[in-house]
C-alpha cells in the first residue's frame, strides 16, 4: 500500500513570494492534515480537511490556506512568505470512517525562505 506522498521535496523561495505544497493521501483516506515543523519548535497543527471541507485550523495567520480536491489530495498555500516560514511541512492522512484516528505522515516538503 502506497503511503502519503508530498511534492516537491524541497522548495526555495524569497521573502514575499507564494509557495504551493501538494499532498496525496493513502488510498481510501478522506482526511488530510497539515503540520509545520520549524527548527526547535516541534510539530504545530496547521489545517485539517475532510471530504473537501476545512474542519479545523491551528493558530496560524490567514496567509496560510489550503484546499482539498475531489480525489482527496490537498494543497497548502503560503502567501507573502516570511523568513520564519522556513520549516519542514508535513502532510498526514487518516481514514475518518473508522474510529481509530491514527494519522500517517508523508516525507515532508522542506521550505526555505531567503
Amino acid at each position: 500500500e502506497a503511503g502519503v506522498t508530498q511534492s516537491p521535496t524541497h522548495l526555495i523561495k524569497t521573502r514575499g513570494q507564494q509557495a504551493t505544497l501538494r499532498c496525496s493521501p493513502i488510498s481510501g483516506h478522506t482526511s488530510v492534515y497539515w503540520y509545520q515543523q520549524a527548527l526547535g519548535l516541534g510539530l504545530q497543527f496547521l489545517l485539517w480537511y475532510d471530504e473537501g471541507e476545512e474542519r479545523n485550523r491551528g493558530n496560524f495567520p490567514p496567509r496560510f490556506s489550503g484546499r482539498q480536491f475531489p480525489n482527496y489530495s490537498s494543497e497548502l498555500n503560503v502567501n507573502a512568505l516570511e523568513l520564519e516560514d522556513s520549516a519542514l511541512y508535513l502532510c498526514a492522512s487518516s481514514n475518518s470512517l473508522t474510529s481509530r484516528w491514527e494519522q500517517y505522515f508523508g516525507p515532508g516538503t522542506r521550505l526555505t525562505v531567503t
Binding site: 492534515y33 510539530l43 497543527f45 479545523n56
Partner: protein
C-alpha cells in the same frame, strides 16, 4: 490548555541497556495518545495508539503503556537502529480541538554499539 511534555529531551544508551521514555499530558477529554518515531529530515512514522488507561501495546523491542496522566515507551535491549526521535501526541475530544494532534517536543534517543 491541552499540552504534552516529554522527558528526557535526550537519552544515550548502550546497546542492550533498557530504559523508558515519559510522556505527560493534560487534555480536556482524551480521544487517543499516539507514539511516533522520526528519523532526521523525514516524516514521523506511526508506532502505537493508546485509547484508555491501563492499555498496553507492543512492537518488537517497544512497549507503550498509558495511565490517566502519562504514557511510557519502554525500550527493551535497544539496538543502534532504534536511534531516532520519539514523539508523543494526543488528540482531544473537545469540539474545536478535534482532528489535530498536539505533540510533545520529543525525546532523541541515541543507542551506541
Amino acid at each position: 490548555e491541552d499540552q504534552v511534555t516529554q522527558s528526557p529531551e535526550a537519552l544515550r544508551l548502550q546497546e542492550g541497556e533498557s530504559s523508558s521514555l515519559n510522556c505527560s499530558y493534560t487534555v480536556s477529554g482524551l480521544r487517543g495518545l499516539f507514539w511516533y518515531r522520526q528519523d532526521p529530515g523525514k516524516g514521523p512514522e506511526f508506532l502505537f495508539t493508546l485509547y484508555s488507561a491501563g492499555e498496553e501495546k507492543e512492537k518488537e523491542r517497544l512497549k507503550a503503556t498509558l495511565t490517566k496522566k502519562e504514557s511510557f515507551l519502554h525500550i527493551t535491549a535497544p539496538k543502534p537502529e532504534d536511534s531516532a526521535t520519539y514523539l508523543c501526541a494526543v488528540q482531544a475530544t473537545v469540539s474545536g480541538n478535534t482532528g489535530k494532534l498536539i505533540f510533545g517536543q520529543g525525546t532523541t534517543l541515541q543507542v551506541k554499539p
